[in-house]
Structures are given as C-alpha cells and as structure tokens.
Symmetry: C2
DNA sequence: GGACATGGTTAACACCGTAAACTGATGCCG
DNA sequence: CGGCATCAGTTTACGGTGTTAACCATGTCC
C-alpha cells in the first residue's frame, strides 16, 4: 500500500471533483489514503504543489480533448471539432475547467504557475493553428489568425464561465443550444458568408434532433488522467 | 473611534485590494481597526457576510460605471459607452472585477449569493436594454436582444478574464488596443455594415492617438464606494 | 554489522473562523 | 439616585488549517 504521487493525485482529484476545492485539505486527503497528514510532505512539498500538479493534469486532459479535433479530415471539420471539444471538456469536467482559470485564487497564488501558463499557451497555439488553417482554406475571412483566435477563445470562455457561475438561467441542454446560437452570431462576423450559412444550417439541424445521437466525431468523454485512469 | 460597518468594510476593501483575498482575515482586519477579532462579530455575523457585502459594493460600483453610459445622447453613443465603461471598470478595479466572478470560490460557497445574483441580473438587463435600443435605431442587425447581449457580454468578459489572468502577453495599453480590435471583429457580425465601418474607423482613430486624452464621455475613474469614498 | 535513505509516526507551532463568558461604559426608567 | 438592560469591546478557548521538527521502523548497500 505504498502512497506514491500518483495515488495522492488520484485521491486529491476525486476529493476536488466530488466535494469541491475547499474540501481538499491535507488531513482529509491523508485520511483517505490511510495515512497521516505530514506523510504527504514526503511526496509533495506543499498543498499548493498538489493543486498545481492537479492543474497540470487538468490542462493535459484539456489538450487531449482539443487534439481529438485533428481527427477531422478537412480544415473546416477540424475547426468545428475544436469548438465542440472545447465545450465538451468544459461541460464534462466543470470543476477542472474552473480550476484551470481560478487556480491562483484557490491557492492564494498571485500568478498562474509558469508551467500551467506554458500549457495554456500551447492550447492557445492550437486554436491559432486551426484558425490559420481555416483561413487558408477560405472558410474564415482573411485576417490575423492570432487576433481572430483570441476573439473566438474569449467568446467561448466567457460564455462558459458565465454558465458555470449559474448566471444563465438554463440547463445544460439549453446552454448547448445557446452556445451554438451565440457562436453562430460571432461567426457571422469572422467567417466567409458561405461558411457562416453552413454553420447556421448545422446549428438549426443540431437544435432539431437535440435528443438524438451526439454529433459524430466528438467522441466519448475522456477521464482526467490522474491515477484512476487506465494503468 | 467607533468601529461601525462602514469602517470595517472600508478597511476590508483596502486589505482585499492591496494584499489580495487571502490576506483578508478577521484577525488582520481587526488589527487594522485597532480591535480584536471577535469584536467584528458585533457588526457582521461572519467573515463570509463581509465578503458578500464587499461583493455588493463592487456590484454597485460596477452598475454606476455602466449607468454613466446613459449620458450618451444617441443609442449608438450609449451602446458604445457601455462597452467602454465595462472595460474601464475591469481595468480600474481588477481585484473587484475578479471578486464579482470568483466570490463563491473565495468563500467556499457553492452558489453566488442571491442578492449578488440579482445584481448581476440587473447588469445583464442593462446591457440587453442598450442592445435593444441599438437594434431599434438600426445600428445592430435585428435579432433577439437577449441573445445578442449575451454574446457581447461573454466576449468582453472572456477577453478581460484572460487578460487579468496574465495569459495575454501584453500590457494595459496593448490590451486596450487588442480589446477594441477584437470587439470590432465581433461587431462585424452583429452590427449593420454602416455602423461596423464606423466602429472600425473609431478603433483606428483610438489606436492612432492612444497617448492622447481619453475618449470623451468615459469620465474619470470612480472609487469603490465603501467608506473612504466621499461621505 | 553499520551507514544510510525511505516513508511513515507523534507532537507541536502559528494561524484561521468562531463561540462563550466576562467587563466596562452608556443610557433609560421607576 | 439606584437598578438594569444594552452595546461594544475583551479574554479565553475549541476545532480546524498548512507545515515543521524530532523520532522510529524498514530495507538496501558497503
């Protein structure tokens, strides 16, 4: 019954998701592992370090969600899948999504940790790449890919955080519709008219058979790889 | 040297802004007031209550920022001022802006407090009203005002939080430019072409004389009305 | 066998929010 | 005026937090 980093992180992850951030205390964590609190300091220098590593895992999973978009065969498909998978991650792992963006508040740390910051940059780069690709394919209006990617990212992120804060009085299904609708409004401005029209149709179709099978290519939920995942 | 609610909130506000949320402890707060911690419970039932009231003040100031937009003489002006003042608040009171959206994390409370939630709704309604007005004036494309307002709100909010997290490698001046540019991209989709063109010109002008006087009508920074403000 | 690293223990420190009991002043009422 | 409640502060204390120090058992290598 060794208590390695892996198992600690797994239990911490579970604690975080099931009981919330404030329940993630060293003593509670140790109790779950059948050990006393100071033992944890053999594996992690501090509680903050645990949270930071958790954030790292959350970012990795996030990245895996996005990377699945590369299974799309056309730039348009990959672009669209990126958006879908972004939303999928946020809705399937809301606590982690919040953790990604609130970590410094939760820990009392001023800045996002450098490695998390770097990971965020990688995610940002991925979106930029999909935007550039879509521009080159004539699907988005020409422009600065970084700037357009930022706009898209900000819009999606903003909408999601507002929803997760409970400020949108709607359930998840309603939010998915709303998200699509809002994204379409944005696309109207940055996409070429032909594609914007296609998106509008797609959105309408999705709204129609919302109770049907999930849109293909989105894939099944991925677990947060932190111990209890396939070993 | 009475220690009324007003003074407590004022000192708590200062502590929050200067030292960060984690520094806002009952003992530290009491020390600043030349008093011991339990004395604070004569005026506030709990620390959480203090934070909630602080959030309330932050929301009030936020609302005052937005309401200044009503000084605009045309719907277009009021619409534009709303966006500017939103940004002004976020940049002049970043800690409060974060507090507005992170309060439940900071306190370990699951949901935003009802009154704060209601205040958030009022702010939302204000934006919806400006959007409706702009639509009626033929400045925005016709559509559902609530939906369009949400899109605008999400975009602004997302961009700002990303910036405040330090994920955009730029300073404040750079961010202001970037914010305008991004907003313009969004407007391209939801505004009527004539107005989008006007905004583009405005953005270009603003970028040109960025070191000049602030655009008229935005007004001077407002203090957070919490004690040290004019009594 | 002895040195040494490893991973756990217990005890303790300083801090946290908060409750209970007590103290001193202040004002009101018979 | 005496008595008494009320208010605003105190001291003390409890159970919680992250973290450290000192100690102890185990296994591994020279």
């Amino acid at each position: 019954m060794s208590v390695d980093r892996e198992r600690i992180l797994a239990e911490a992850s579970d604690l975080l998701v099931t009981e919330g951030p404030h329940a993630l205390t060293m003593r509670a964590l140790a109790r779950r592992l059948g050990v006393t609190a100071p033992a944890l300091y053999r594996h992690f220098e501090s509680r903050e370090r645990i949270v930071v590593d958790l954030v790292g895992e959350a970012f990795d999973t996030f990245a895996r969600y996005l990377y699945r978009a590369l299974e799309g065969r056309t730039p348009a498909e990959r672009f669209s899948l990126t958006g879908r998978n972004y939303l999928a991650y946020a809705l399937e792992h809301p606590r982690y999504y919040e953790l990604l963006h609130a970590s410094h508040n939760l820990i009392g740390v001023e800045q996002l940790h450098p490695e998390a910051q770097q990971c965020a940059c990688a995610v940002g780069q991925f979106i930029v790449d999909r935007v550039r690709e879509a521009m080159d394919a004539g699907m988005l209006k020409p422009g600065d890919p970084e700037s357009v990617a930022r706009t898209i990212w900000a819009h999606s992120h903003g909408l999601i955080t507002i929803y997760l804060r409970g400020l949108l009085r709607t359930d998840e299904a309603g939010f998915r519709r709303l998200f699509l609708e809002s994204t379409w409004q944005l696309m109207e401005g940055i996409a070429e008219p032909a594609f914007a029209e296609a998106m509008r149709a797609e959105a309408a179709a999705a709204a129609a058979d919302e109770a049907g099978a999930p849109p293909d290519g989105v894939g099944r939920p991925l677990p947060v790889e932190v111990g209890e995942a396939p070993r």
